[in-house]
């Protein structure tokens, strides 16, 4: 399992994580991702390098942890009044964010420093939570809804596959086609 932050807010562990993540983000912006080193991050965050090695293993695992945090959605999916409109809007925004240069870099970093797959699992869980929110709201309106795993297979998977393996000019039309397929039975 990847090192997991203790989640007690305000505790020392949470403060260390926050300082180290902030240091990584600043340094990547200042010197570029490939020039960042663990001693530089430690100095900027005011911790010892061994604190970082103990908690994150190595630089690649730290970058993976930071990338997953950057991929965490910041807002709930918009409520546009219908399942189709909500899913269209969510899929378009997801495609936009993931296919952007920074999105691609975060996805790549998240996978690279993730020997056991737990960070990749966190990325997927974020998408599943957002889809759950859209589907629960639709069910509350009385709309028939597909299950979350189907939306993952039919909307999230093709978007992520194309970003990683088969980049092309996927845009909003593509996202809406995927949603149409997810809402179509079987």
């Amino acid at each position: 399992m990847s090192p997991k932050p203790m989640t007690r807010p305000g505790g020392r562990s949470a403060r260390v994580q926050e300082a180290v993540h902030a240091a990584v983000r600043e340094l990547v912006g200042e010197v570029g991702r490939d020039a960042v080193t663990v001693p530089m991050v430690a100095a900027r965050a005011g911790v010892t390098p061994s604190t970082i090695y103990r908690r994150w293993g190595d630089l690649q695992e730290l970058l993976s942890d930071v990338a997953v945090e950057r991929l965490r959605p910041e807002t709930d999916p918009a409520d546009l009044g219908s399942l189709r409109a909500d899913l269209d809007a969510w899929a378009e925004q997801f495609l936009d964010e993931m296919a952007s240069p920074s999105g691609r870099a975060y996805i790549r970093d998240a996978l690279l420093g993730d020997p056991d797959g737990s960070n990749a699992g966190r990325c997927s869980a974020y998408a599943a939570e957002q889809i759950d929110a859209v589907l629960n709201r639709a069910a509350g309106r009385g709309e028939p809804v597909p299950d979350t795993e189907r939306v993952i297979d039919r909307v999230v998977a093709p978007i992520m596959y194309r970003i990683l393996f088969r980049p092309g000019g996927q845009g909003a039309d593509y996202a809406r086609e995927l949603v149409a397929n997810a809402l179509h039975r079987p």
Copy 2:
């Protein structure tokens, strides 16, 4: 662009590639992937380490190149007499191979040492060629066929996404459900 082998069979470049790839495969089997080094590979292949660095950049890029070669399909898809039967069989075999421990390791290696995405593109092209073969054969029989990109979105993408991000107990039933969706309009 990743270093590409010259393809003239029997030329020095092809012989070097073959010797280096064979050395990597043997050493990974003997000492494990994490203990392999460029000097070990060079000694086994009878080349200098600088030959390897010049052609592959670093160990991770070499491992990526070897992994992609291992992911190259060895046979044409079976002809079972109908599009549905051919795609079902192909998808089940693809899922089996990719989700096996060695398949997962190759996919991971292929992505890791692939800064520009060209090795990931080769993996995707292999799958597309196999699907093309199945679809062309079906069209020759007079069957209506979806296009290759649709089969990639609906069959290949969910299989690869789940392997990388959301492992579960996907089996033959799952592969056949994906094929059913790919053959269903819209």
